[in-house]
């Protein structure tokens, strides 16, 4: 009972600190920029609904899945644990009787609703603004968004457990692995989380009018395998973060 109460206290503390962190207004900037773009582009006004769906889907694939989802996960995924490491407040948690594994889980489950809230929330807003193509797109792309959000959040928690300045490390990862390697032709892109997410999005979007990608440029992973890969990344990264955090000494010699 005491441990459960302590866990809830830490969860609430972490959630509140993340929500009121600088990450929240910083994330609103690209979301507002996307909203302005969508209002100006007005996909719903198109005479060709299939073409409108394709165009809107390409916006979601290139901007939302490749950039905004990792950015949301990065903002909250690294800040939960990484913020305490950088501010040196982690020691106040370590001297409490809460096991280290639970400290990590409290941080993870505090970040996850915020990441999901921002990714799913922004997807919903974008789809609403897109009109008719957006209604089909929300249902089609929601599962991929959820999978990617969870996988990225786990991955960035692993970064925070491993590296002191995890936000910088995660940014470098996001730029090099997700944006650069995730978009090169061939199988190299399999190192990027968003490759699996975009594979799911292509699979879900084709029946609504999304053109299948050029196989030379982007060969989608089979949807069942992509889901498995995203689950494996989410669970594997979280377990690895948990193991690292439980055993690692976050102290420098004095």
């Amino acid at each position: 009972m005491r441990t459960a109460r302590a866990f809830l206290t830490l969860w609430l503390l972490s959630f509140r600190r993340l929500f009121w962190s600088i990450g929240t207004p910083m994330l609103l900037l690209p979301i507002v920029a996307c909203i302005m773009f969508l209002v100006r582009r007005n996909y719903g006004a198109s005479d060709d609904p299939v073409q409108a769906f394709h165009a809107f889907s390409m916006f979601l694939l290139t901007v939302f899945a490749s950039f905004l989802v990792p950015l949301c996960a990065l903002a909250f995924g690294t800040a939960g644990l990484g913020g305490d490491r950088e501010d040196r407040t982690l020691l106040f948690l370590f001297i409490r009787p809460l096991p280290r594994g639970l400290i990590l889980l409290a941080k993870y489950f505090a970040a996850l609703p915020l990441v999901l809230g921002f990714t799913v929330g922004s997807l919903w807003i974008f789809c609403k603004l897109a009109g008719a193509p957006g209604r089909a797109a929300f249902d089609a792309y929601l599962p991929a968004t959820l999978y990617m959000s969870v996988a990225y959040t786990s991955l960035f928690h692993l970064f925070a457990a491993l590296v002191r300045h995890s936000t910088v490390a995660a940014l470098i990862y996001a730029v090099f692995m997700e944006v650069l390697l995730g978009n090169v032709p061939g199988i190299v892109k399999r190192v990027a989380v968003n490759y699996y997410g975009r594979s799911l999005m292509y699979d879900a979007g084709v029946e609504h009018g999304l053109n299948a990608p050029d196989a030379q440029w982007f060969d989608p992973y089979p949807p069942a395998d992509a889901r498995t890969a995203l689950w494996a990344i989410a669970i594997g990264a979280l377990v690895a973060a948990w193991l690292v955090f439980r055993t690692r000494e976050y102290e420098e010699p004095t």
Partner: protein
């Protein structure tokens, strides 16, 4: 008086990669106030981190009562006031202490009651609504102390607790620590302000190069140093006669006369005091005051450190 809990280090060695932080340390810290003395890099912060379960010993074992220091059971018995000046800056002092207390699993009402008591004991009850980022260093130190005692620990670790606190505040904190020690609490204070440790602590532990060099009361430590040179001031209206007599003693190395005072240095304090008694009786010397000038903690620590290097 509550049940007492010991802090025990058993053959503890801690490596930081190839660097050795503490080396085969065995130490029992019981109820009362124990001072941990050592220069920078001596290993006292490592000992504090090992005791608070933040570090795991490479060899040996650290226990709080019967529990391994890294266990949750040990952490329930332990209060820790770190030397790090880090907080959740956006919180008020009260919010911080209350949140830290709730992390022990107390209900909100119980945590609030404990927070209020801890803030009152540390003299912060009337200033606890200030945001921590606007608090002075002394106020932050008191808040750190409050979060360390709010859950009624049996072992209290204080890393440089008096830094930044004004003299009046130091007296208050010292009184609080003495009251806690009188209640059977085991208090371990690390400080580089030796004069404060001397006033506060029942026992001293001297750490040099990652090893425990000496431990005991200040008097016991001083007795270890009978062979060390000692500076003595003797006040007498016959200061010149006194100087002439003591300078003839074989172990006297230095004598200065200033008005009615003779300041001298001897290599063998016990022999000097024995000889001085004989000289006073033989020459009917009037001695108004006799004091050792360097038997405080600073001098003891200095002697011990010099003898270790």
């Amino acid at each position: 008086m509550s049940e007492s809990t010991e802090l025990t280090f058993e053959n503890v060695t801690k490596f930081y990669g190839p660097v050795i932080g503490v080396n085969d340390v065995s130490l029992r810290v019981g109820p009362g106030i124990t001072g941990l003395l050592g220069s920078n890099g001596a290993g006292k912060s490592t000992l504090m981190k090992l005791a608070s379960g933040r570090l795991k010993p490479s060899l040996g074992e650290v226990r709080v009562g019967p529990h391994a220091a890294r266990s949750s059971a040990a952490k329930r018995l332990l209060g820790y006031c770190p030397d790090v000046n880090a907080f959740y800056e956006e919180m008020t002092g009260r919010e911080f202490v209350e949140t830290m207390t709730r992390l022990y699993g107390y209900s909100l009402a119980e945590a609030r009651r404990r927070t209020q008591t801890a803030l009152e004991r540390t003299g912060m009850a009337d200033r606890a609504e200030r945001r921590l980022k606007g608090c002075s260093h002394g106020m932050r130190q008191r808040i750190k102390l409050a979060q360390a005692i709010a859950h009624d620990p049996r072992v209290l670790l204080l890393d440089e607790p008096l830094t930044g606190i004004d003299p009046g505040g130091r007296r208050e904190i010292n009184e609080l620590l003495r009251a806690l020690a009188a209640d059977g609490l085991t208090v371990l204070v690390s400080s580089h302000l030796l004069a404060e440790v001397e006033q506060l602590c029942d026992r001293l532990v001297v750490v040099v190069n990652g090893r425990i060099l000496a431990e005991g009361t200040l008097g016991e430590l001083r007795n270890l140093l009978n062979d060390e040179p000692l500076t003595i001031r003797l006040e007498s209206p016959q200061a010149r006669l006194a100087a002439a007599l003591v300078v003839a003693l074989p172990d006297t190395t230095h004598v200065t006369v200033r008005n009615d005072s003779v300041i001298l240095r001897t290599r063998n304090a016990p022999a000097f005091f024995a000889e001085l008694g004989r000289l006073v009786a033989a020459h009917q010397l009037e001695v108004r005051r006799l004091e050792t000038l360097d038997s405080g903690a600073e001098a003891v620590f200095g002697y011990l450190q010099r003898s270790a290097t």
